[in-house]
Amino acid sequence: MNEVRKFKPSNIIVHLLLIVLVVINLFPLYWMLTFSLKTNDEILGHSYVDEATGERIRVEPNRVGLPKHWEWSNYSEAMNTGNMGQYFINSLVVAVLVILITLIASFMATYALTRLVWKGRKFMNKFFMLGLTIPIHAAIVPVYVILSRMKLLNTYAALIFPYAAFALSMGILISIGFMGDIPYDLDEAAFLDGCGVWGIFCRVIFPLMMPAVATVGIYTFLQCWNELLFATIFVSAGKYRTLPVGVQQLFGQYTTRWGPIGAALSIATLPTIIVYIFLSKRIQDSFIAGAVKG
């Protein structure tokens, strides 16, 4: 794709506008990082009495500049008293298990929907695609009632199964595209070598679905990593809170202290950003696959 890039003065204006947008995009994140390393005194301004002269000296607030003194204790406070480390691990455990369950369930279903021969395949496919339009609100009250009767509120399971169920439709949709690209000759060859359907599925199809693992995995990961509504209802209390719930409830403790709040926000944000820097193309492709097929 080699387009001839001519020098056009209008391009400079376009670049200027795009750079303004870049600044608007990045500034809130930069600001978050700076106030995560400041004390309230520095952000809000303060005054003190100079011991030598006895004069009252006013220090102007430093809202957007780099911190004068880097207050790393904000981070240890967010990790220790704010429990951000624990919430981070919880989010990770939930996300990994949801991805595993979603991948296995959707690959198996996709195999049945595309490779096995039976009446009603098309209908079943449409049935699963209903899930793309059903809002999670549909499940909240009944699932809450069931979970609380089974004493499963405030456990990992309370989030894992609902998340996997709501990720399933997209998982199947994406998998169908990938599985369709695997030639049927491979199934035949494996069958002649003595494989049954399970053998074909485990030894032929599954290894060839690795690109789908990445796409479905990334999509599912971001869905459950950032989810708040289920998480805040199903694991509101206790040590199983995920990051979004943890961040939300941290504010009850530190309503007026900016530093630890900024530190907690940064701890919750940075890992995703770092992963994105390395996998940006892959992550974008997952979102495109999810939307274009939906």
Binding site: F128, L130, H137, A138, V145, L168, V197, L222, P244, I273
Partner: protein, 325 residues
């Protein structure tokens, strides 16, 4: 081989995990929500559950209620009309501000601007950040106290001197003067909620549109250029009709996303009633009032609305697509 592929037990076993999850957590709960929405109960065990017909829906959709004992009218704090109106306002803002903005940037970027991938990656980044974090970050930006960034910027530029009285004049819901409490008044809270939504999701729609534009066949664009079409003509007559399916997805996401929206308003405001949305109202009814029947009725209304809007938007795009072709 055919025999193994049609063996029923295999088919059943392959579908089983997906079916258990799907029916257990999506399909059955929809039916249960529907049943709950015609009942009234406030204990999780369901011991006090009783059938009330359409009462829940009547409660949600009447702004005033009558006290059965005294016969006096009172303002219904469970009224869903405001929340639905706010959600629809967000949907309109998203479709008419966010999507055109995304389309304009996508059109510019996809025409071979130097560094287009870098721009694209930066614009998409906020999509990956949890909406709670963005809500909390914006809460600090809007902070009416000394640390708030927006008010500090307005003060530094001297805009606050005329802007704040002007906003005060427009506020009817309260007699308090406006001094920068962006999330504290009905009149400003919804816009205050829309700005972070715009900030977060413009990159998402832009990415989809960009991918769509990159999929337009090169020979189509070259033919148009040979015929002497201007950039605007190519955009209007070739690219936009070609990416209609993606525009449809974007509009559906923007509208249903606004209807379902919860995270941002919940994280942004201590008191969500200033920009109440169906989901935040549902949360309150469930966990402050333990009104599981009313909460379920909101869920049912949302499910129905999401389906209707998705259908209507699809139909609207189909009609126009045929005219273009």
């Amino acid at each position: 081989m055919k025999k193994t592929l049609t063996y029923r037990l295999h088919i059943f076993l392959f579908l089983l995990p997906a079916l258990i999850l799907f029916i257990g957590i999506l399909i059955a709960p929809i039916i249960m929500s529907l049943i709950y929405s015609f009942c009234d109960f406030s204990s999780i065990s369901g011991a006090d559950m009783k059938y009330v017909g359409f009462d829940n829906y009547k409660t949600l959709f009447s702004s005033m209620l009558t006290n059965p004992n005294t016969g006096k009218m009172f303002v219904n704090d469970k009224y869903m009309g405001n929340a639905l109106g706010n959600a629809l306002a967000l949907a309109v803002l998203s479709v008419f501000i966010q999507l055109p903005l995304a389309l304009i940037i996508a059109l510019k970027l996809s025409k071979g601007i130097r560094g287009e991938r870098a721009y694209l990656s930066i614009f998409f980044m906020p999509v990956l950040i949890s909406t709670v974090i963005i809500g909390r970050l914006w809460m600090n930006i809007y902070d009416p106290g000394e640390g708030g960034l927006l008010n500090a910027a307005l003060r530094a530029l001297g805009i606050d001197k005329w802007l704040f009285p002007a906003i005060s004049g427009g506020i009817r819901s309260s007699k308090l003067p406006f001094t920068g409490q962006w999330t504290g008044f009905r009149e400003t809270a919804l816009i205050a909620a829309f700005v972070p939504i715009l900030w977060q999701y413009v990159g998402y729609h832009m990415l989809l549109m960009y991918a769509g534009i990159k999929g337009v066949p090169k020979d189509l664009l070259e033919a148009a250029q040979l015929d002497g079409c201007t950039e605007g003509q190519v955009n209007r007559h070739i690219i936009i009709p070609y990416i209609k399916p993606i525009l449809r997805v974007s509009v559906i996401f923007a509208v249903t996303g606004s209807l379902k929206s919860f995270d941002l308003v919940y994280a942004l405001m201590k008191d969500t009633s200033k920009a109440e949305l169906p989901s935040t109202l549902m949360y309150k009814l469930l966990f402050l009032h333990n009104s599981y029947g009313l909460g379920s009725a909101i869920a049912v209304v949302l499910i129905v609305l999401c389906f209707i809007f998705a259908l209507l938007i699809s139909l609207a795009f189909k009609d126009r697509g045929e005219k273009v072709a």
